[in-house]
Symmetry: C2
Subunit: 211 residues, 2 copies
Amino acid sequence: MSYGYGGYGGPPAPPGYGAPGGYGGGFVPAHAPPPPGADPQLWSHFIAVDQDRSGAISAVELERALVNGNWTPFDLDTVKLLMNIFDTDRSGTIGFNEFAGLWKYIKDWQNVFAHFDRDRSGTIDEQEMRNALGQFGYNLSPQLMHLLQMKFASDLRTTGRAANGISFDRFVRACVVVKQITDSFRRLDTDRDGWVQINYDQFMHTVLSLP
Amino acid sequence: MSYGYGGYGGPPAPPGYGAPGGYGGGFVPAHAPPPPGADPQLWSHFIAVDQDRSGAISAVELERALVNGNWTPFDLDTVKLLMNIFDTDRSGTIGFNEFAGLWKYIKDWQNVFAHFDRDRSGTIDEQEMRNALGQFGYNLSPQLMHLLQMKFASDLRTTGRAANGISFDRFVRACVVVKQITDSFRRLDTDRDGWVQINYDQFMHTVLSLP
């Protein structure tokens, strides 16, 4: 089973790629050599995603490179989440140094996903999600667990009351959403009594900051 | 410019479709006649979306039938929003009576979208979004407006600090999110002082109920 990144052999090398020159045009320029000290393996992943060989990964290139285990593309909202976390200099692209963090993040989440997908179905069902959140230290009521599962379920084949499995990219987003809501709540709950006072602007800000 | 539904001629009629019989197999069965009193135009739209001629529209069929003005598909979350609203009997499919409501809903939103897309770009920019929400009676601060635009912007071509345009399907979702947050807040703000007291479960419930 494969999770996360797909197509990692990269595109087939165009004719003349890496060759010393050529004429008649049409060759894609060879990619620049890796920066000194760069992990060669990581560099090969980076240039496979950087399809236009610009030296940086655009959000569109990132979107193209990311697939779930069942080959469905990542949601736009998950691609934006990743750009928001790893485009640290807000250039609109992911440079090689930023890519190292992104690569590790995806790898770590792949391991988490594989660990909790006990039945190897390729998606996380409600019981698996409960186990995952429990291990992360979140204790949601059965009602909230069901609501979370309904919200992030990715399989349209059956809908209605049943909650389906959650694909890799939406699993990451679900976990980030639960963490962010909990963190926001704790930040507001200064006296730790389980209740917060919040105004409309804060309320809206908290929600609109979620991925 | 076209918004919303696409491919509304439906699939090309298979050989023998509508013909009196035929032999050798492979013909898609002709669709049942419209229910008595049904709007013939609406029925023709319904059977175009109901591609397997089951008499009901599945979420997958709905997803296939819906495109934005720029031909991008609707987000999974918007398809789920529509199923949640219009699959009123929670059968997992949209019957013809439910479809009438869905069709009107999309049509109405298309008109709203076209009205506020002043520059006819096919997406809603931050100023257009401010106008729309203002007309709906929502008065968000400039900071919240920007956050909303960043969250729902659908164009990955430039990201970073700039907020891009919002496609039709994400515009609908953005408006529903603002309405739901505001309604939830008002319900909690019983003394109308602009502040609410809320516990962790209520907080999480409010957020996870958003589309």
